[in-house]
Amino acid sequence: MNRQIVQLFGLCTLLFAALVAFTSWWTVLGAKDLETNANNRRPLIEEQRIPRGLILARDGSVLARSVGRGSGSRRTFTRTYPAGPLFSHAIGYNFISKGRAGLERSRNDQLVGKESEFGSIFSQLQSKDREGQDVTTTLDPRGQRAALAALGGRKGSIVAMEPQTGRVRVMVSVPEYNPNDVPTRFKELSLLNRATQSQYPPGSTFKVVTAAAALDSGKFNPQSIVDGSSPRPVSGVPLANSGGQDFGPISLTDALTNSVNTVWAQVGERLGRGTLVNYMQRFGFNQDPPLDYPDSQMSASGVRDERGRVLDGDGGFDVGRVAIGQGGSEGAILVSPLQMAMVAAAVGNGGKLMRPALTEKVVGKDGRVKERVEPEEQSTVMSEKAAGMLAEMMGNVVREGTGTAAALSGIDVAGKTGTAEVDNATANQAWFIGFAPIDRPRMAVAVTIERTQGQGGTEAAPLAKRVLEALIGGGGG
């Protein structure tokens, strides 16, 4: 019998070894899959026990803070947003029942104080509780308030950023929402961030991109004369100027000041699709902006076909109409307000596009700066000379052209208006993009209003003025 008993013990050893092997699989080798399994609520619950760091405005005012409830092992934290709807889309929200969005999502690791494996063992040894780090944003409450008030409930978006640093000072999307309502009224809230997610026809503001390509490629200069008669065939179909106005031969400067469609369509055709798309890419089109914001809440600007796909240079689109911010059935140009702010900023910064940023710095609870977001060049769009010429041209738009409503007293403003027909020409998408002051730009801005009856110059330009006033002063203020 003893031989069988020894064999039986061998079998038991094998069975127990199988148990250890399976335990090893679940704890170590297969643990990553389990931890990221959608049904696993542990990470969410764990993070609820960590006091998330503060989210602060540029001036130090608190935009999001965690409030503790209960005590001991039952202590949990929930988010409150003291500023209410003012920063809603930019900051986003974080609630266990609804997940997270916005900066709360893109900066989550730092807000919950996530550390490397080594670091976490170290802090375990010191038996320190995990604590979130504070995120200071680039957002300016004054500008934010001014932008929200300027839109006055009209659907649309305003984005403002510093040309030299890429720091986003204003990001407003209307309808806004109060993030404190997310747990209770989630379904009623308008969570679409028009500043980064919406894709609108840019109308004539896109002529800035076309002009940048024209000037920097050396094929045109501001004094180049192009025939501005109306209508003119573009891609075999007649194209008219706004109001059917016939300008005759006209310089590029005047063509931008008066937003002459036929001139810029010809410029686009002469540049060709390849050149135009090349410059668009330099401006950051055809990809999600490199903003510290969730990818799922951004969309790429560019020429999109009817199925919504972004076309590259060989897309076969109507380059003349795309050059003036329109398009045809093969593809039409669609942009986000953030992208247009980046266009204005790149011109304002001497042709250098700075990487946009929503975060200024991340600070640990011990007061040490964990990360400082330094200004970083995203791409060189055009030469400083071309940018200077384009800035002058855009200055004329505000001085004497379609954008006079954006003018500030004592400060020269550069800009470009846009009016794109939508809904079978029954409504307009009104635009204004620009920067100020022209000689040493401190702020770039993009304003857009959905489905309005007015023009970019009358509807959007005054809003840009109010936001610029709030951010860089000037005028009576």
Binding site: L8, L15, L19, F22, T27, L34
Partner: protein
């Protein structure tokens, strides 16, 4: 060094574990420390020392490692249960005392385990009665679809825990008598031509069955193993009348599946039976036939009894959204795996794992009973869990060692049976929690919360110690005689 001194020294790691464990748990919950809870550890150690003195006076030659190992496991369990719920730990400590009383009573009243042989049919009947109790109207209670518990007034207990001991005693005594008879035929095997004929017939039978029933791979393999085992049994021309009781036991296991609807405990009982059958007869063919018949029956029930079926489904697809939502679905096993993943290599540390949801409910259902292994892995990591398994392996090793040194067949079979059934119980519950096999509700011996479990396993330990004491006493006497 005498066996008893080694036993006493073996209690030192137990005391260290208890002290360190309670200290760690207490440190993590500063807000509800009370002196009463801190004394559990001391009280537990006092009980262990008392038990040691008792063994010293009553069973001086018994195996010196079995009791410290059991105490180590129980201490482990007590700390974990305390960590889960201090009130449950208080109850568990009480049950440990009652278990210890039963342990001592067993040793006092059963001076010689051979007395059990005389009552084997009474014991078998008692075992069966215990097994069907949960199905009796009035006192039976259904837990998660399985019939495992009995409610007698205020006391709720799991009769299967006691039935396992009764049935092992019966089988050990029965197989001691018939084991030889079952295989005596080996002296006159079938002539070669007839053997070939038999093999041919079996192969043909398998082919026809596979074709007719359209069996899948698993079923075909089972059938093939069954056929090979059957041929190997028949070629020895066994006397068929002795197979009646074996078929009866198989039938009982199947009935149990149907009756108490619990795959885990059926596996435990039938596995214990097969282990005894193998040791008693030295015939792998018998084990092969038995195992395949059991698995075949289990597969059949898995497709026909809805409770067994859902257990198998949740085992195979723990993350299926429908099964996760369902009551009694895969939520438990999924949470068990998440808890283990959370533990990683070193675990979260005593008292650090996530157990309470913000709403006050528990994230792990039955954390203190079925899923205690998952909590242990969560808090102590792979190393802690492997250490626990090692503890069981050492206990099992000492159990088999007891069987090895035992002088007579009944003692050997009894020790083997008790040890195997305990090992299988560990395999069934830990295997269930780690998704090796479908999860069913048996306790982790000595560790899980549960009065029946701790009392029954203390009695099991007492029986092993009695067998061991006799065996080592005999050997000691023999060696003494030689010198």
């Amino acid at each position: 060094m005498s066996a008893r001194t080694r036993e006493l020294l073996g209690l030192i790691p137990v005391s260290l574990l208890v002290t360190a464990g309670f200290a760690a748990v207490l440190l993590t919950r500063t807000e509800d420390v009370s002196d009463a809870t801190a004394t559990y550890g001391l009280f537990f150690l006092g009980c262990c020392v008392f038990a040691h003195l008792f063994i010293r006076s009553r069973l001086p030659d018994a195996d010196p490692y079995l009791f410290p190992l059991a105490a180590l496991l129980a201490a482990f369990g007590l700390v974990m249960i305390y960590r889960i719920d201090a009130e449950l730990a208080r109850e568990q400590a009480q049950w440990f005392v009652i278990g210890l009383a039963c342990f001592c009573a067993t040793i006092v009243f059963l001076r010689d385990h051979h007395a059990l042989e005389r009552y084997r049919y009474t014991i078998a009947a008692a075992g069966l009665a215990l097994l069907v109790m949960p199905r009796l109207p009035g006192i039976g209670a259904q837990v998660n679809g399985a019939f495992l518990a009995v409610q007698l007034g205020p006391i709720k207990f799991q009769p299967a825990e006691f039935a396992k001991i009764a049935i092992i005693i019966f089988l050990a005594s029965y197989l001691r008598d018939t084991g030889d008879m079952l295989v005596r035929a080996r002296l006159r095997p079938l002539p070669p031509q007839r053997q070939l004929l038999l093999i041919g017939a079996a192969a043909l039978g398998v082919l026809v069955l596979v074709r007719l029933l359209g069996l899948g791979t698993a079923a075909t393999v089972l059938l093939a193993i069954f056929a090979i085992s059957l041929v190997s049994i028949l070629r020895e021309r066994p006397s068929l009348k002795h197979f009646g009781p074996l078929l009866l036991i198989w039938g009982m296991a199947m009935l149990m599946l149907l009756f108490i609807r619990d795959l885990g405990s059926s596996l435990m009982f039938f596995g214990g039976f097969l282990a005894l059958l193998y040791v008693a007869t030295d015939r792998l063919s018998l084990v092969g036939a038995g195992a395949t018949m059991f698995l075949g029956g289990a597969m059949f029930f898995a497709n026909s009894v809805s409770h067994v079926q859902s257990r198998v489904d949740t085992w195979l697809h723990p993350f299926d959204p429908d099964l996760l939502e369902k009551v009694g679905g895969s939520y438990q096993i999924a949470q068990s795996l998440f808890a283990q993943a959370d533990g990683g290599l070193f675990g979260r540390g005593f008292g650090q794992a996530l157990l309470d949801l913000p709403g006050g409910t528990k994230i792990l259902p039955a954390a203190h009973t079925d899923l205690i292994y998952a909590v242990i892995t969560n808090e102590l990591g792979l190393f802690g869990a492997a250490g626990l398994i090692l503890g069981y392996l050492l206990f099992v090793a000492r159990g088999f060692k007891t069987a090895l040194v035992a002088a007579d067949g009944f003692s050997k079979l009894l020790a083997v049976g008790l040890t195997s059934v305990l090992a299988l119980q560990v395999f069934v519950i830990v295997g269930g929690v780690t998704k090796v096999i479908p999860l069913t509700g048996v306790t982790l011996p000595f560790v899980s919360y549960g009065g029946s479990s701790i009392v029954a396993n203390m009695v099991l330990l007492a029986l092993l110690l009695i067998v061991s004491d006799h065996a080592r006493e005999d050997r000691g006497a023999l060696q003494g005689g030689l010198v």
